[in-house]
Symmetry: C2
Subunit: 154 residues, 2 copies
DNA sequence: ATCCCTGCAAATCGTTTGCATTGTA
DNA sequence: TACAATGCAAACGATTTGCAGGGAT
């Protein structure tokens, strides 16, 4: 919790631009609530849950509803501006910094999610397509275990 | 639908044995309902949903409840006798033939799931562990797209 | 003035739980 | 006879939807 976080990372502003731009191009309005969601997505590497996003938005706009957050996320997904990591029993988590599919490491104890640089999974996707006959358009590659911090505590 | 399916695949009986054995070793009773679930899991390659399993069990035991199916699946999971493929928006699907994690191809149109032989993902898991610092215990590697049949229709 | 967006509440859906009843070892 | 498993219904949690009111173009 008391981790030095050098304020919103760089590239943050740029990412926000990209996202608002995408909204406008799609003929969507950039409302204050939506902007708030965008900023959170662009500024956090922790793959926040809907609830987490909601809490943060609500700090700035206390009347915001969860439904609006959901609707905003749905739209951003459709514009490929956010990646949804859908987990079965723990609700979804969202990645707005790197909106294209890539592998994640998920901590089963604290829920932390990391996305280290990995060799591209395209090869695997291609191999999968070849062997299955499926046309592969997307993927979700999740690795589950314990994050470094939780390994110590365990 | 009219695919030649040479009746319950071979190894079927053997798999059933394994599973019942696992139950007994865990001090669990092999009730008729549970056996019915086992058989379905051992005999189908289609990664059935809970609902599908339930329907089939209900054919043989009309009074069976969905809760019992869920409870049975939960137990089999804990014994590592079935693999749960947890999808966010579409409920879970189950693999009782190959209960250890392996990549799947999922058809976004009809829901078909294939698990072609693939080079082991252990390397990728190890790489992920190395780069993330996580201790990796499990994974779920899903590739989404269109199955061969749906490609034609599309 | 129109049309989109918001926010609230109610509805859904998959899954889980509590508990009385039943069946089995 | 005990004790575990079943079945039903109620509870749950995440997400979606319907709709009236409010804002922005």
């Amino acid at each position: 919790m008391s981790k030095r976080r050098p304020a919103p990372p760089q590239g943050n502003q740029q990412r926000i631009e990209e996202m608002t731009q995408a909204l406008r191009e799609a003929g969507q309005r950039v409302t204050p609530q939506r902007l708030a969601v965008l900023k959170i997505l662009a500024g956090s590497s922790e793959h926040p849950s809907v609830e987490k996003i909601y809490e943060q938005v609500a700090r700035e706009f206390p009347t915001t509803s969860l439904a609006t957050v959901y609707k905003t996320l749905t739209m951003l997904k459709s514009l490929n501006q956010v990646l949804e990591l859908g987990f079965a029993h723990w609700g979804s988590r969202y990645d707005g910094k790197t909106p294209h599919p890539h592998p994640h490491a998920v901590c089963l104890r604290c829920g932390a999610i990391a996305d280290p640089d990995m060799p591209p999974a395209e090869d695997m996707a291609r191999e999968m397509a070849r062997r299955s006959g499926y046309r592969i358009d997307a993927h979700q590659l999740d690795f589950f275990g314990l994050c470094p911090r939780c390994q110590k505590k365990a």
